[in-house]
Subunit: 226 residues, 2 copies
Amino acid sequence: MNDRRRILVCDDEPQILRALKVILRDAGFETVPATTAEEALDLAAVRPPDAAILDLVLPDGDGVEVCHEIRRWSRMPIIVLSAMGDEDAKVRALEAGADDYVTKPFGARELVARLQAALRRVQGADEEPTITADGLEIDLAARQVRRDGTDVHLTPIEFRLLETLARNRGRLMTHRVLLTEVWGPEYVDDITILRGHIANLRRKIEPVEGPRYVRTDPGVGYRFTA
Amino acid sequence: MNDRRRILVCDDEPQILRALKVILRDAGFETVPATTAEEALDLAAVRPPDAAILDLVLPDGDGVEVCHEIRRWSRMPIIVLSAMGDEDAKVRALEAGADDYVTKPFGARELVARLQAALRRVQGADEEPTITADGLEIDLAARQVRRDGTDVHLTPIEFRLLETLARNRGRLMTHRVLLTEVWGPEYVDDITILRGHIANLRRKIEPVEGPRYVRTDPGVGYRFTA
DNA sequence: CCGCATCTTGACGCGTCCTTGATGCCGAGC
DNA sequence: GCTCGGCATCAAGGACGCGTCAAGATGCGG
């Protein structure tokens, strides 16, 4: 019996595919290789892997599309590989539902670390009634937040902001995604308002010594870390 | 002999159908696949399954219609799959008799958990005779309320309001939920009337120094706290 | 037909929350 | 070392929701 995690890896360059295979095997993962977008989607549907690593540029399509397709039916962790400087495609992949990105050339340790972090996230993501991250309790059904046992009062917008971040804990949420999710599509570009409420939220739930739960990814967005 | 539960699954996209099949098989269910609304209704009629999972968008109709049709003759658990952001269709499906909804993309474990919860719910529903919260007694069967031992007279609407709040004690009940629950779906937006009766209810059961049982959540709704 | 209890509706004052722009800080690139 | 862009913070205004009250509508029983 083999209980190793299966990782779908899609990249059109054979040497990168081989390198990824070695890196993942050493980290205790099983690799399911694919070289085209179509092959990746087929493999994912026939027997869903535990996570996927997708190159953004593929012969028969875009890694963003693959990401989008998979997200129609699965929440499996997806990490995209982007060439350096390809900021735009990176952000589009994140908005299509990717969990994180790694820019090529990547270090083996960084990739594995991000993969494991993403896998850890999915463990308790089963739409639990209450999310707990050391010292912070978020009761989604009751719409109640406690820090170190004492209740914290959040305004409606602050709660929805924290809720969407916590529901996607570990995942990098772009500014645009957060804005459309909390305020609606017409606020897509209003980053100022997002910043303001992030500040208020932090003042209420973060310890004084610095941000612990809500991390900033400069130029891209925010993420909730446990 | 096969005693596995049979689940009718209706989705027009082959990839999603395949993924659902795998997920359900791993959870110990047998899948009855269908790709159109008509096919789903036929299969359900020929040999009723134990539950149904329906996509909201189908080639020859709406998942809401299928839901409505099935409900004409069966109380089997129905779970609908809705695309993210399609709040309206989701609500209509629930009003047509669906038990629960899962938004795509869904986690495998979440879907299975909700399916099992729905199956369990069909077994038996429980009733609570009387709810007590320090100094306040609510006898649901006798429709009687006492505060500190003395009877309090509530009008019919006031009682139903308190009843729904108390049955979901601790949980925040939105304006919309309270209005549909107490007054009916056509009062969904009439917040004024809700405010008025909340005020009257408070005058009768709350101590003079301020609200203790019925707390207000600005912009969202009310909740009953013990 | 009348009176009472209840429900509904609108207006008003008040408090909270949202929004916006200005300001200062920090890191990256030159 | 300097400039520039992105980020956090703060304060002020304006908008919105809430609770309250009173008057009118409705329904029921006497």
